[in-house]
């Protein structure tokens, strides 16, 4: 059997205690554990000493929809709960429903999904495989096997909800040693496979907030080898607002799984805003997305194929919103 390394376990009942425990060396936060456990089994966190579970903290589960349409999803709410909540926009329910498999959606949480570790074919393998080669940067080594010429880690942002939340302009609430703060979710991410979150390790995401969004049309398209279980190898979240004359007044296009963070595509957004929303502008916006993203050969299927699929998926997403 593939077993976990020896670990200490803490399940504090308050966020403050959890934050304090996370300050200790080798402490790792666990929500549903569906990302953490396989990564630990593959020995991706060699310094791990303690699991800090949030399961006993009260008030971290549930979805509130306020009278102005604001949606508040507590961090430990499971993906299955999101899928089943008919008050939520279709785009959120579909993106949550595209994550992993039914069992993992019963266990995996929204907070865990937004903070899911970046992935790479060289890293996410059992340690016996990893030991067969020099360790890469993220495994504590000196080089990157994917792009050896550079000193950067290109592990892929693989969350399905992250691009959607960025497209919807969500905010996340964090609690840490210095108290609480709220930031636009876009600012949570950094395009760096190793330090992919801007928050500190002690900070806990408590809630994601989607402000009033009446009239915003949004969708999510996911590319993966199989229709279930697989992580995204390309995700396209698109949100647009059209006026009565079909002029696009607002556009957000966000790509998942092509970089180490969800990637906004301003070149495509600029094509759309101020123009009539029709097949021609959609085609132009889709083409503009091709130039920005450069997926590498570090996840399933070839980077060439994934690159070619970017404009196709952007076009299909935008067509759906017309």
């Amino acid at each position: 059997m593939l077993r976990l390394p020896p670990l200490r376990y803490e399940a504090p009942s308050t966020l403050e205690e959890a934050v304090a425990l996370l300050a200790e060396d080798g402490a790792l936060l666990a929500a549903g554990g569906s990302d953490l456990v396989p990564n630990l089994k593959r020995r991706q966190y060699p310094t791990a000493r303690t699991i800090v579970s949030l399961r006993r903290v009260a008030d971290l589960v549930g979805i509130r929809v306020e009278s102005d349409g604001t949606i508040r999803i507590a961090a430990l709410t499971t993906l299955a709960t999101v899928v089943e909540d008919s008050r939520l926009p279709k785009v959120l329910r579909e993106a949550a429903g595209a994550v992993a498999s039914p069992q993992i959606r019963n266990q995996g949480t929204v907070g865990g999904n937004l903070c899911v570790d970046t992935r790479c074919d060289w890293l996410n393998v059992p340690d016996t495989w990893r030991q067969a080669a020099e360790p890469c940067l993220k495994a504590g080594g000196e080089m990157c096997w994917v792009a050896p010429a550079k000193k950067d880690c290109w592990a892929v942002s693989s969350s399905d909800l992250a691009p959607v939340m960025v497209a919807l302009g969500a905010e996340v609430q964090l609690i840490g040693p210095d108290g609480r703060r709220s930031i636009p979710i876009e600012q949570l991410y950094r395009n760096d496979g190793m330090a992919y979150l801007t928050k500190t390790t002690e900070e806990i995401l408590t809630e994601v907030v989607i402000g009033p969004h009446a009239g915003l049309r949004a969708t999510y398209r996911k590319l993966r080898r199989r229709g279930s279980i697989d992580f995204p190898i390309l995700g396209v979240a698109a949100a647009v607002r059209l006026d009565d004359a079909d002029i696009c007044t607002e556009a957000r296009i966000v790509l998942g799984a092509v970089a180490s963070a969800p990637l906004r595509v301003p070149t495509s957004e600029e094509v759309l805003v101020g123009r009539t929303y029709n097949a021609e502008t959609i085609a132009e916006a889709a083409e503009a997305a091709r130039k920005l993203a450069r997926p590498l050969n570090n996840t399933d299927l070839t980077s060439r194929y994934r690159t070619r699929m970017i404009p196709v998926f952007v076009r299909r997403a935008l067509e759906e919103l017309g």
Partner: protein
Amino acid sequence: MEPVTLTVNGATRRLFVPPQRTLLETVREDLGLTGTKHGCELGECGACTVLIDGVPILSCLTLTVNATDCEIVTIEGIGSMTEPHPLQRSFGEHGAAQCGYCTPAMILTAKALLDRDPNPSEETIAEAIAGNMCRCTGYLSILSAVAAVTEENQ
């Protein structure tokens, strides 16, 4: 060692487990219930599915300490050789178990679906078992086996 209390197939079990013990290890190695299978052990195949409070969960990704005070059902808990569960009988009749490795998890996943929705469409059945890999049957016999025990078809 952490103290845990589990209800497994109706019986209360009190045990001490190391914090890193997974429910898969506990069920198979501490409780001897080897009907729950281990495949990938990384969340990718579904063979280790058990029901926790009626919900299909991957035991290979679950820490036993996190399942404390929960009600666990494994394949041993839903039928026996002499009195099989209707799903177990139907899987046999439809040839939906070939090597049988995926079968306990498949049946538990289907049971959780039928408990919630006694008349699922074929599409709903397919969606419900989308986290359970089968390398033998090609899935169609499994879909037929589950469809045969919906309320409508009984």
